[in-house]
């Protein structure tokens, strides 16, 4: 059984935007798309550590603010010509409340 931890509400994130959750040792970026889908990925671009939560969100992707790599929020894979992958985290949304898997948060913290 996964333990889920509530991190906030869907409302708290702007559409086509993201906010961060601080965990020991890093940050998880939680995205909300135009269609209110929620995704969580590591807030660190595999290229040169750009904060992905600061990027422009379009469709199901985000463009890194530092050098414009584009990542698929669902798979974490870089799109287009660039190669790279960012870690994704499972998310659960219930009644507009967002939950993150507690053990994964702990792993991220390692």
């Amino acid at each position: 059984m996964t333990d889920w931890i509530e991190i906030g509400t869907v409302q708290a994130i702007p559409r086509r935007g993201a906010r961060c959750v601080s965990v020991p040792g890093g940050k998880i970026a939680v995205f909300r798309t135009q269609e209110d889908q929620i995704f969580a990925i590591e807030n660190r671009c595999p290229h040169r550590n750009g904060p992905l939560s600061e990027g422009i969100v379009h469709g199901g992707s985000v463009t890194c603010p530092l050098h414009n790599w584009v990542f698929d929020l669902a798979t974490g894979k870089a799109l287009g010509a660039d190669e790279g992958e960012v870690r994704t985290y499972p998310i659960d949304v219930v009644d507009g409340r967002i939950f993150l898997a507690a053990d994964l948060v702990a792993v991220a913290a390692e």
Partner: protein, 816 residues
């Protein structure tokens, strides 16, 4: 012994004939050329780009001196032949040089027709035919002043556009009711006139010139209805006459031109006539494509192929004025036996008309969108039956065959023999062979090796498509492409449609313009957001999520994810209170680096994102606002100390800089906008590499613009002089607003200016006071919504989610 070939005239037609002659191997001829013009063979068609300043003479040379040496040709430059002695088979030049011939080619071209009105010989009255005319016009244009061009045909309009580019104001006088009536129908002539007028050229139709007035030089043109148009320069471009005089004196059969058979031989079989001076099948031609076919015939005949014969042909016409797309071919008069299909799109400025007889195209006129010209022309030449595509014919090639065919596929589908370049008679196979065989990757490469698109340039698009079809992604043209992969529209179309269709939100734009993605991408969203902010002040609600992070959080992101903060220092002036506040902030928030910027500001680097609102609160408290160092908008106005302190200062440069900055701060622009004001021409504020720069002088203010000192380096251009500070401010503001309305997102002023041309900018913000005032007022209106300090807003709680984590978990989280 080689046979002696002598050529009179060194224009485009004989140049081509010689190329052809040499192509087949070492020639049987030793060649001598006499040319009245003191120069080598150049591309006469491209004189207009030279006049407008877009090209230099070196760019348009077809055969350089080396070519003549390489082929052992004796070229007499500046020698006009005055006599042909057919008995002795000899020619003689004005200077007395002689040459005997076995074969002679007369290729003397045309002479411009001069209307013999009183005053036509006054100094300052020019024709438009050769490089000397261009130089004379450019010299006359140095004095600015007013030019009158008599003749609204192809040549006249190109001259008018060129002179406008050179800084003259221009009036075109045209005898007919509509422009270019030989190539255009009245509707297209009207569209053309409107476009020229929009650019600032005055057009007077139905204008009969009665007299040219002047004393020691030209002063005015008098029309027969009594109107008097003052003029510092008059260019007559009313037509050409085949230059057949030499042939006539030599006793050859001469009509309008020198009469030749379809093998280009005159009544004396040892003498050919070639080019505009020749009359073949009763017609004298005045465009390059048929002349080049004639050249091929002459070359073939000289190499012993007696079967080659000239076939009359239609040629298409284009106007070579940058930014005006216009194409006409064939016969487009109305008539009983004819049908026509017309497409008009007023907002897009497109007009297309195809004329059919017995279901076959006999003529086409295209304005605004000429991409399908060659396709229509091809069907005209081939007599293609258009019935199967009648319904979609006018929409062009891309719409044939059910689903829209993309132009690439259309080009790829062409047979190898399909002619791509009409001027130079280059077919597709030759181009693709050259691309693969010679490893060409650029348009210029193809031009150099095949000549395709090297003359009038109208087939450039087709050649580019061939490059793309052959090279795939290996071809990357400089030409502006769609805004981004989400749309097929370019920036200009999007801007135009936003206004034309009153689109006031990003979703509305995407819906109406059929965006291919659900919510755009990181390229188009910031661009659209800017366009909407600029076009609908007060109505459009800025979409922060479509801004880059810097503009969303009003600070500059650094490589480690921290931010830099730059408070505004008006005109680069500061004081102890501000400096103390900055020092205190740096201490309080342990800001690791403090640096002076190139724009006379102080930069606090390495601020943590969550500290930003608190940092701003302290800076606000000392009276400082955001310096917008992150913005595609007004950044800084740099100044020198000017007449306040400097012993050379002519005006209060500091005061003007502060005034401009206080007036313009908060404005968003297509790209960053940096200004400077120097108090004298010593230019300590480095104003001449800024987007807009002012150099104060005793008599007022010289306003410069379009400089760059980044990836590109470019000195500014002088826009104009203003007598007072108020006038200077008004011009700078109007210029900025024009740029705001026309610039493409991320396009700096200097690129924008290069694209639209200085004349159109002058016309909008300098010469026409009323227009200037309109732009000025639109800027002022838009500022009422823009001058809000974004820092203060955020200190007061706006976008708080940006600056705080959503949730924070300490170490024990896993154990919870």
């Amino acid at each position: 012994m080689k046979e002696k070939l002598v050529i009179i005239g060194n224009g485009m037609a004989p140049g081509r004939a010689l190329e052809k002659l040499f192509e087949t191997g070492p020639s049987r001829y030793s060649v001598t050329i006499f040319n009245a013009e003191p120069r080598v063979n150049y591309d006469r068609i491209m004189l207009s780009p030279v006049l407008s300043g877009e090209k230099s003479f070196e760019d348009i040379i077809i055969h350089g001196d080396g070519w003549y040496i390489e082929h052992g040709i004796m070229l007499y430059k500046g020698h006009r032949i005055v006599e042909i002695d057919r008995e002795k088979r000899m020619v003689r030049s004005e200077q007395g040089a002689t040459a005997e011939y076995d074969k002679l080619i007369i290729a003397t071209g045309s002479v411009p027709f001069i209307i013999p009105v009183p005053g036509h010989k006054l100094p300052g009255v020019l024709s438009y035919r050769d490089l000397d005319d261009v130089h004379a016009m450019m010299l006359a244009a140095k004095g600015r002043g007013h030019a009158v061009v008599i003749g609204g045909g192809l040549l006249g309009l190109e001259a008018a556009a060129g002179l406008l580019n050179q800084g003259m104001s221009v009036t075109v006088l045209h005898v007919n009711p509509t422009l270019m009536e030989r190539q255009l129908d009245p509707a297209a002539g009207y569209l053309l006139q409107r476009e020229l007028e929009r650019r600032g050229i005055e057009v007077i139709t139905k204008a009969n010139t009665k007299e040219i007035i002047g004393g020691s030089r030209v002063e005015a043109v008098l029309l027969d209805d009594g109107r008097r148009i003052s003029a510092d320069l008059v260019v007559m471009a009313v037509g050409i006459r085949p230059n057949a005089a030499l042939g006539k004196e030599a006793g050859l059969a001469v009509n309008r031109g020198i009469v030749v058979n379809d093998q280009m031989q005159t009544s004396d079989p040892a003498i050919y006539a070639l080019g505009e001076c020749a009359e073949v099948g009763g017609t004298c031609y005045g465009l390059v494509a048929p002349l080049y076919s004639q050249a091929n015939i002459v070359a073939a005949h000289l190499s012993g192929d007696s079967k080659a014969a000239f076939v009359p042909q239609y040629t298409a016409t284009r106007l070579k004025v940058t930014g005006i797309d216009l194409y006409s071919v064939g016969d487009f008069a109305e008539g009983e036996d004819r049908e026509e299909i017309v497409l008009r799109d007023a907002t897009a400025g497109v007009y297309k008309r195809v004329i059919l007889r017995d279901d076959r195209i006999i003529g086409a006129v295209l304005y605004g969108d000429t991409a399908d010209g060659p396709w229509f022309f091809d069907m005209l030449k081939n007599g293609t039956d258009t019935r199967p595509m009648r319904d979609t014919l006018i929409f062009g090639q891309a719409y044939q065959g059910g689903t829209p065919l993309d132009p690439m596929a259309a080009v790829a589908a062409l047979p190898d023999e399909a002619e791509i370049c009409g001027c130079n008679g280059v077919c597709k196979g030759k181009i693709t062979d050259a691309i693969t065989g010679k490893g060409l990757t650029t348009l210029d490469g193809v031009r150099a090796h095949t000549k395709a698109s090297a003359s009038c340039g109208s087939c450039t698009g087709l050649v580019e498509q061939l490059l793309r079809a052959t090279l795939g992604d290996g071809y990357n043209p400089a030409a502006v492409q769609p805004m981004c992969p989400c749309t097929d529209y370019g920036h200009d179309d999007v801007r135009r449609l936003i206004v034309a269709k009153s689109l006031k939100s990003i979703p509305a734009v995407m819906q109406e313009l059929e965006w291919k993605t659900s919510c755009g991408c990181a390229k188009c969203r910031p661009a659209l957001n800017y366009y909407l902010v600029a076009d609908w002040p007060g109505e459009y609600e800025d979409d922060g999520q479509s801004r880059f992070i810097n503009e969303r959080v009003h600070a500059n992101i650094q490589k480690d994810g921290t931010y830099s903060v730059v408070p505004r220092m008006w005109g680069g002036m500061t004081n102890p209170k501000e400096l103390r506040a900055i020092a205190d902030v740096a201490d309080k928030f342990a800001i690791p680096a403090v640096k002076v910027t190139g724009g006379q500001r102080i930069d606090l680097l390495g601020v943590k994102k969550e500290d930003l609102p608190a940092v701003w609160a302290d800076l606000n408290a000392a009276g400082m606002v955001s310096g917008a160092a992150y913005a595609k908008g007004l950044r800084t106005v740099k100044t020198c100390v000017g007449s306040d302190w400097c012993r050379f200062g002519t005006q209060d440069s500091t005061g003007l800089g502060i005034r401009i900055e206080k007036f313009m701060w908060g404005a968003w622009t297509p790209a960053k906008l940096k200004l400077a004001v120097s108090g004298c021409p010593r230019n300590c504020a480095e104003a001449t590499c800024k987007d807009i720069g002012v150099i104060c002088v005793d008599s007022g203010y010289d306003i410069h613009f379009a400089g760059a000192a980044g990836l590109d380096i470019k000195g500014t251009e002088l826009l104009c002089h203003a007598d007072t500070e108020d006038e200077a401010l008004e011009i700078i503001v109007a210029l900025t607003q024009l740029y705001r309305e026309q610039g493409r997102y991320l396009e700096r002023i200097y690129k924008w200016a290069k694209r639209v041309g200085t004349p159109s900018i002058l016309a909008n913000v300098v010469t026409d006071r009323e227009k200037r005032r309109h732009y000025y007022e639109r800027f002022v209106y838009s500022q009422t919504f823009a001058q809000v300090d974004p820092w203060e807003e955020r200190v007061n709680g706006k976008d708080a989610h940006e600056f705080a984590a959503m949730a924070e978990f300490g170490l024990p989280v896993a154990a919870e």
